[in-house]
Symmetry: C2
């Protein structure tokens, strides 16, 4: 039905018109130095005249390399991952690689099909953030096929990765909240099975709470990783012995939580302190500005790509851990015990 090729001229056509062999045309584009200047100029002129550019499909097939990398991320709506793309692409471009990109929406099934598509396209390597690095079967598939890959954000001892120390970072955040006087801290996240980062952060938070002899950190599971609903938050606010601080597993969730707390007539941080994780730039512009852990998304992407290229070009496989930084915003403040004793249930307009 649909007619095929437009009017693409191939290397043999250029060769014919230039009165040389296809091999020479190929050399003109790939190793211009080894061909006589005169021949080169002539071939180039003919090529130019036809708007000819070598078809990479041909060379990829022949060479066994597509000079293309895959990037598999949960979603670009989260600025953290958008930054990751930017970092990775910047590094890839530097070495002449293109990027094929796909979003998995935190769905392991989509992860698997996405990776298979990338494999079929014969990409030279893949950077990916999976739901759970330990249980992911796709990573083993990748490994078994001898494909090059690097995890971004996921921490792993079994697979190469570029990440931050989620456990330590979450621990630091709890220590920070404790220094503000909070002793009853809750942790909010989506289903842990869908994010091993969230799981590490919870573990780090719990460990620190224990070390500092705070109350045990309760864990509330939201339906989604990046947002929540009024009923859930109301339930937390009305809980007996409600926490004085909510540590959210990421900034998108924290943003959503703060907004709902306000809707319910409570004030942040006066009635409830809230902290996030990721350090999205918009956090600074919010009101109150977000207390969070800044994980360097751009650098994670850049580093993951760098590690991947090391693997591809130098057969070196290694991981790297990047530094994080605590951002002391306005969404979490000193706990004022007096102002809190009065209400047991919730705040205003309920």
């Amino acid at each position: 039905m649909v007619e095929r090729r437009i009017n693409r001229v191939s290397i043999v056509e250029i060769a014919r018109q230039a009165g040389v062999s296809p091999a020479t045309v190929s050399r003109v584009f790939n190793r211009p130095d080894i061909v006589l200047a005169e021949t080169r100029e002539h071939v180039l002129a003919v090529a130019q005249r036809h708007g000819f550019r070598p078809n990479r499909l041909g060379s990829s097939l022949r060479l066994g390399s597509t000079k293309t990398l895959g990037l598999v991320l949960p979603t670009l709506s989260n600025p953290v991952f958008a930054d990751c793309f930017e970092g990775a692409e910047q590094r890839a471009r530097q070495s002449g690689y293109s990027i094929m990109m796909t979003a998995t929406h935190y769905d392991p099934a989509l992860e698997a099909t996405a990776v298979h598509r990338l494999i079929d396209h014969q990409l030279d390597g893949v950077i990916l953030t999976v739901a759970n690095a330990r249980t992911s079967t796709i990573l083993n598939t990748l490994k078994a096929r001898g494909m090059h890959y690097v995890l971004a954000y996921n921490e792993s001892t079994a697979h190469p990765c570029a990440s931050v120390d989620n456990y330590a970072a979450a621990s630091d955040m709890v220590a920070h909240l404790a220094s503000l006087g909070h002793r009853r801290i809750a942790f909010l996240s989506g289903p842990l099975s869908l994010s091993d980062r969230a799981a590490s952060r919870l573990a780090g938070a719990r460990h620190c709470a224990q070390r500092l002899e705070l109350e045990q950190v309760r864990h509330y599971v939201m339906l989604s990783h990046t947002g929540t609903d009024t009923a859930t938050i109301r339930q937390i606010l009305e809980a007996p012995n409600r926490p004085s601080a909510l540590f959210c597993s990421n900034d998108l969730l924290a943003t959503s939580v703060i907004s709902i707390i306000k809707e319910l007539g409570c004030a942040v941080p006066a009635d409830m302190s809230v902290a996030g994780f990721d350090g999205i730039r918009y956090g600074a512009f919010m009101s109150p500005s977000l207390t969070t852990v800044q994980a360097p998304g751009y650098e994670i992407g850049h580093t993951a790509c760098h590690l991947l290229l090391e693997q591809i070009e130098q057969r070196v496989t290694r991981s790297e851990q990047l530094p994080y930084r605590l951002i002391d915003g306005a969404s979490a403040t000193l706990l004022n015990p007096q102002s809190r004793k009065p209400h047991h249930a919730a705040c205003a307009n309920q």
Copy 2:
């Protein structure tokens, strides 16, 4: 140096092992219905055993189609474009297409090289946002080569596009500001040569101001499209006859402007109203919440991709304009003439 292929088995190897011809193996994967069930199962079993999946490079070369689309956007750091990617990918996935993605950082030179890379990869089509659709040479290159492409965000009569009516939207925003009592409105943006959207918005703003007999809209050009600096904003605040409202060509810029105005000791909107454009979701969480025009990024991406696939699969070339919506936030309010008369120069701490 670097050894080539890992251990990829090809279709002929599978054919040999299954005791059939390569053509049959091909049919098993592409038109399973026309091959005998028994043969099919057997071939499938052999393929499975070797983890064989057809190499798309081979079929792409043969078929003249890569089932891959290019997406060329200024940057994913702007949530507007991240949403656009999500929309486009969702639509592409639905038809079995992959996406090769690249960011141009508002640089026409990068636009050109990026598109050439995509052409070399033999993509079936390209979705792109260029700096300026009218002056872009790359669009003519695309057209001349007979490549399929659709613009996203850029409006054009010469090229297929998916966009909003920037002129009308900006006009509506000025009308809104006027209804709040503002008569001296300034427009802020990056260099117009780098964004035809900004240019249309300015034109729309000016037209409306004229129609409503407001003062002429002054245009301040920032160095970047997505942020500004203290000196520039101070200059605006200190200008004689300073405006009472600043209309920024996008939300990132508006966010940056508000933050700097506050740093300079002025209040938004008490001392200065600020409006943006785009409707990024974080605008709602900011303080004050952003008054802006919401352009549907996800839908623009989705529609652009849909139009592109129509072109590729049905040889239909058309454009589509999507609806926008004014968001009446808290960053722009009723002008109070009294509170403004006193200070001529600026606000506090100067």
